[in-house]
C-alpha cells in the first residue's frame, strides 16, 4: 500500500523554475533582509523595562494603551518575582481593568494568588517577556503561568456551581451512558454526549463546524427534529472545527480548534451552551493559545491542555513587524481570554522553563494548562504555561500528569518526562517532575493510587552491533516523581498494547505474535513483581474491569503467525492474579480466499471511545466495518453496530443494526431501554434487549466528510 501511495506521490514532475539549478535566479530576485529582528526585540524589551510605571493593568490587545500597560506588567513583575495575576483576569472581565489599579490593591491580591513553586521543581519562573524572548533565543522549550481572579468571582462561581448541582440532582432519574472515564468522577470528552432530553453529536469522520442536538423520547425510542448548531459564528475571523465536548448539568462545553490564518495563531476555544431546554443556547466562550491536546472535567471545572509552538513565528517574523503589536505578541507568547480579540498574554512572571536552560539547544513548545469554570468560562480560574511538549495526560482526583517524550542523546534512549500538577477547583500548579525510561502508550498506562504514581512504558534495548529490540517496564513513583520501585525487561521484543491498573494490581498486555497478559503486583511500591503471564492469540488494545473477577479485553485478533485477521473480545479471569486465564473469547474474522477479499475492522480498536461498555447493564457495543470485494471485483463496504452481552461465561450477540447511510457508525449511547447509534449522517435507535429498531433519521449537512 505505502509503495503504491509513494508512486502516486512521486508522479508530478517538478517545474523547471523550481529545479535547483534555477533557484539562484529566484533568490537573486529578492533582496536579502539585513536587519536582525532579534536585536530589535532586545532593544524594545530593554526600553520597556527601563520605564517605571507603577500601575497594574492587563496587556489589553486592541487598545492604544497597550505599551504602557505592557510596561506596567513588566515592572510589577520585576518587583514581585512570583506571579501577579489579577490584571489579566480582570482585564478580560470588565472595562474597569483598563484603568490603573493601585499598587496596594494589587499586592493584596498578589499575596493570595502567588504561584508557589517547590524549590525542588525542575522548572524556574521567568519574570518578564524579555526573559521569555531570551529563552526563545537560546532555542529551548518553555513553561507557564497562573492567573487568578478576585474573591468575589470565586464565590459567585462556587455558588453557581452548587445551584447547578442541586438542579441536576432534582431531575428525574434516567440511566444514560457517558464517555467512559478512567478515574471516577473525572469526566472525559467525546464527540457524543446525552442527557434525558436528547443527544449532542458530531461525527469523528469530519472536522466539521456543526454539531447536532437530536431530541430523544425515552418512552417510545423516537427521535425528534434534529437541530444543527454552527460554531463558526462564535469564533469570528478564524478557521474552526469541533474537537470534543462535555456535558455537565445543563452546560454543554464544546472544544473547538481555532486557527487565525493571518497571524499563525493556533488556538483552542471552549464554547459553552445552556442546554436546560434541550436545544443549545450560546452562553459563553474561552480561548487559549495552542493546539488542543486533551482535557478533563471535574464537576464544572474543565482542565484544558494545549500545546503551543512559538518557534516558527519567533524565527520568521518579518522585520517590518511591530513587536509591541498584539499580533506579534500573540504569535509568540501564550494568551487566553474570552475571544481572539478580547484576550491577553499571560503574565510573564509566571512563565516557567526548565532550570539550566542555558545549555539547551532545542527550541520546543509551551504546554498551556488551564482550569476553567464552564459556568463562567471567559476568565479562567488559572492558567499555567510550562516549556515542553505533551502527548498523553492522566488525571487523578487531585493531580494532572503530563507526559513528554524526550530523546536522550547521551544514551540514545527515549525517556518519558512526567510533570505532576496539582489541580484543585480549577487552580493548577506544577509540583514535581521526573523521568523514566521508555514511552507511555496512552492515558491508561498511568495511574495514581495511595500516594504513588504507577506507569508502564515500552523502551528500547540495544544489543551488539547496533541491533536492538523493544522491552517493557512498570515504574512506581512517589509524589515527588522519584522512582521508588520498578520492573524492567518485561516481555523483551514485544511492545505494550494496553494497560489496566486496579488498586494493587496492574495488567499489562504486550504483543509480538501472541498477546501475553501480565499481572503485576504493586502492593509494595518498592518491590513490584510479576505474578503471572497468560498467552492468547491477538492482542487487546483496551481493557476494562468487568467485575472483581473478570477483565474485558477488546482488540485485534491474529493468527499464530501474528497476522492480524479481525476483531477480538476476550474475557480474562483475574480472580487469582497468580493464575490468569481466559473465560472465553469471541472473534470476528475476515474470510480470505484467492478470489474475493473481505476484511473486518472497527474504529474502536484504535479509539476506545467508540466502545459502549456497561457491566451494570451487561452491554458491550461497537461499530464494525466490513469491506468486501466479490469475484467480479465489485467493492462493497458495510457498516453495522453490534451489541453483545456476557452470559453463562460466553459473549452472545444481542443483535446488530446496519448503518445504510453514506457513513459508518462511529458512536452509540444508551438512554434507559434504548441504544442510539450515530454515524455521520444517520441516527438509529433500537431497543436494547433485542436490538429491534425503533427509529431512524438522516441528517443533511454542509460539512465535508472524510468518507465522501
Amino acid at each position: 500500500m505505502s509503495d503504491k501511495i509513494k508512486k502516486v506521490l512521486e508522479t508530478p514532475e517538478v517545474p523547471d523554475r523550481l529545479k535547483p539549478e534555477n533557484i539562484t535566479e529566484l533568490l537573486d530576485a529578492v533582496p536579502v533582509r539585513k536587519r536582525s529582528r532579534i536585536k530589535t526585540v532586545t532593544a524594545w524589551c530593554t526600553a520597556a523595562a527601563a520605564c517605571l510605571v507603577i500601575t497594574v493593568g492587563a496587556v489589553k490587545f486592541g487598545s492604544d494603551k497597550m505599551i504602557s500597560e505592557q510596561t506596567a506588567i513588566m515592572s510589577a513583575a520585576d518587583s514581585k518575582p512570583f506571579g501577579i495575576t489579577n490584571g489579566i483576569s480582570s482585564g478580560v472581565k470588565d472595562e474597569s481593568a483598563d484603568e490603573a489599579v493601585s499598587e496596594e490593591s494589587d499586592s493584596a491580591s498578589a499575596d493570595k494568588y502567588t504561584l508557589q513553586i517547590p524549590e525542588t521543581l525542575a522548572f524556574e519562573q521567568l519574570g518578564s517577556y524579555e526573559r521569555v524572548y531570551e529563552f526563545y533565543r537560546k532555542g529551548i522549550r518553555s513553561y507557564g503561568d497562573i492567573i487568578g481572579e478576585d474573591d468575589d468571582e470565586l464565590m459567585i462561581n462556587s455558588a453557581d456551581a452548587a445551584e447547578r448541582n442541586e438542579s441536576t440532582v432534582s431531575e428525574e432519574a434516567s440511566d444514560i451512558s457517558d464517555t467512559y472515564s478512567q478515574a471516577e468522577g473525572i469526566s472525559e470528552a467525546d464527540v457524543i454526549k446525552a442527557n434525558k432530553k436528547g443527544v449532542y453529536y458530531f461525527s469523528t469522520h469530519v472536522y466539521g463546524k456543526t454539531f447536532r442536538y437530536v431530541p430523544f423520547d425515552s418512552r417510545n425510542g423516537r427521535f425528534g427534529e434534529p437541530e444543527e448548531t454552527d460554531i463558526s459564528s462564535y469564533i469570528p475571523d478564524a478557521e474552526s472545527g469541533i474537537r470534543e465536548m462535555y456535558l455537565s448539568g445543563d452546560i454543554l462545553s464544546v472544544i473547538v480548534y481555532a486557527y487565525s490564518g493571518e497571524d499563525y495563531a493556533y488556538s483552542t476555544a471552549v464554547l459553552t451552551f445552556d442546554v436546560s431546554d434541550g436545544s443549545p443556547e450560546f452562553a459563553g466562550s474561552y480561548i487559549q493559545s495552542g493546539v488542543y491536546i486533551s482535557s478533563r472535567m471535574k464537576d464544572n471545572i474543565m482542565y484544558l491542555v494545549t500545546n503551543q509552538h512559538p518557534d516558527y513565528s519567533f524565527r520568521f517574523i518579518s522585520d517590518d513587524e511591530d513587536i509591541t503589536d498584539e499580533k506579534y505578541m500573540k504569535r509568540v507568547l501564550p494568551f487566553c481570554g474570552e475571544s481572539f480579540e478580547n484576550s491577553e498574554c499571560l503574565d510573564p512572571s509566571c512563565i516557567l522553563v526548565p532550570k539550566g536552560w542555558d545549555d539547551r539547544k532545542y527550541f520546543e513548545s509551551f504546554v498551556n494548562v488551564s482550569g476553567i469554570d464552564v459556568t463562567s468560562p471567559s476568565v479562567p480560574v488559572s492558567v499555567v504555561s510550562v516549556a515542553g511538549n505533551t502527548e498523553e495526560i492522566y488525571c487523578s482526583q487531585e493531580n494532572i500528569y503530563l507526559t513528554e517524550i524526550n530523546y536522550n542523546s547521551e544514551n540514545e534512549y527515549y525517556e518519558t518526562g512526567i510533570t505532576r500538577f496539582s489541580a484543585d477547583s480549577g487552580t493548577v500548579s506544577p509540583q514535581a517532575s521526573g523521568r523514566i525510561n521508555g514511552r507511555v502508550l496512552n492515558q491508561f498506562s498511568m495511574d495514581e493510587y495511595k500516594g504513588h504514581f504507577r506507569v508502564a512504558t515500552t523502551s528500547f534495548v540495544y544489543g551488539d552491533r547496533g541491533s536492538g529490540w523493544p522491552s517493557n517496564n512498570v515504574f512506581v513513583l512517589d509524589m515527588d516523581m522519584n522512582t521508588v520501585g520498578s520492573i524492567t525487561g518485561i516481555a523483551e521484543k514485544e511492545t505494550i498494547k494496553s494497560v489496566n491498573f486496579q488498586g494493587d494490581t496492574g495488567y499489562v498486555v504486550t504483543y509480538e505474535r501472541t498477546d501475553p497478559l501480565f499481572a503485576v503486583n504493586l502492593s509494595d511500591p518498592e518491590n513490584p513483581f510479576i505474578t503471572d503471564e497468560f498467552k492468547i492469540n491477538g492482542f487487546s488494545t483496551f481493557m476494562r474491569k468487568w467485575s472483581d473477577d473478570l477483565l474485558l479485553g477488546f482488540g485485534v485478533d491474529a493468527d499464530e503467525d501474528g497476522i492480524e485477521t479481525g476483531i477480538k473480545l476476550t474475557m480474562f479471569d483475574v480472580s487469582d492474579d497468580s493464575e490468569l486465564n481466559a473465560v472465553t473469547t469471541y472473534s470476528m474474522n475476515a474470510e480470505k480466499s484467492r478470489r474475493s477479499y473481505h476484511s473486518v475492522y472497527s474504529d474502536a480498536v484504535h479509539d476506545r471511545k467508540a466502545l459502549l461498555i456497561s457491566p451494570e447493564r451487561n452491554i458491550i457495543g461497537f461499530p464494525v466495518v466490513e469491506a468486501i470485494r466479490d469475484e467480479d471485483n465489485n467493492p462493497e463496504t458495510k457498516s453495522a453496530y453490534i451489541l453483545f452481552r456476557f452470559e453463562d461465561g460466553q459473549f452472545k450477540e444481542t443483535g446488530q443494526i446496519k448503518a445504510e447511510g453514506m457513513y459508518p457508525f462511529d458512536r452509540a449511547v444508551y438512554i434507559d431501554d434504548y441504544i442510539c447509534m450515530f454515524g455521520g449522517d444517520t441516527a438509529v435507535c433500537a431497543e436494547i434487549s433485542e436490538m429491534k429498531e425503533t427509529d431512524r433519521i438522516y441528517f443533511e449537512t454542509n460539512d465535508i466528510y472524510l468518507w465522501d
Binding site: V8, L9, P12, R17
Partner: protein
Amino acid sequence: MKTDDFRKDVNTAVRGDREAFSRLYALVYEELYRTAFYSLRNEHDAADAVSETVLDAFNSIRKLRSEEAFRSWIFKILSAKIKRKQAEYSKSAVDINAPEYESILHENFKFENQELAEAMYRIEDEDRLILSLSVLSGYTGDEIAKICRINPSTVRSRLMRTKEKLKRLIGE
C-alpha cells in the same frame, strides 16, 4: 552528500551563499514540491508554495540552530505555507468533482494509479499533508508532529486511519 559536506554547506548558506543554499535545496526540492502538489492538488499553488518557502528559508537560514535540523526546518516552513493556502481554499469551498480536478488527475497520473490518486485527493487537507510527509519523505510520527504542530499520537492515529480509509476507498 556526505555529512561533512552537508554541514559545510549549511554553514556557508547561513552566511548567505546562494550556491551552497541551492545544493541543500537540491536534496529536498522534489519532496517539497510533491508534498505541496499533493497537499494543494494544484501545480500553480504548489509551485508558489515552494518558491515562497525557498525565499523564506534563504532569508532566515542564518537563524537555523543546528545543521541536522535543515530538512525538518524547511518542511516546517513549507507546511505553514500549505496550511495558509489550504485555509484560503476552505473559504472558497473546493469542489473535487470540478472538471479542473479531473484534468489534473488525468494529466498527471497513469491509468492504474488513478483510482488511488483520486482516493488520495479525497482525504482531508491535514491528513494529506501528514500522509505525504510520512510516505514521501519518510518522516516519523514525532517528526511530522513537530513539522505540522500537532500531537504525535494524533499523527500516528490519523496516519493509520488515513491508510485504512484509502484501503477501503480503493477496496483493497
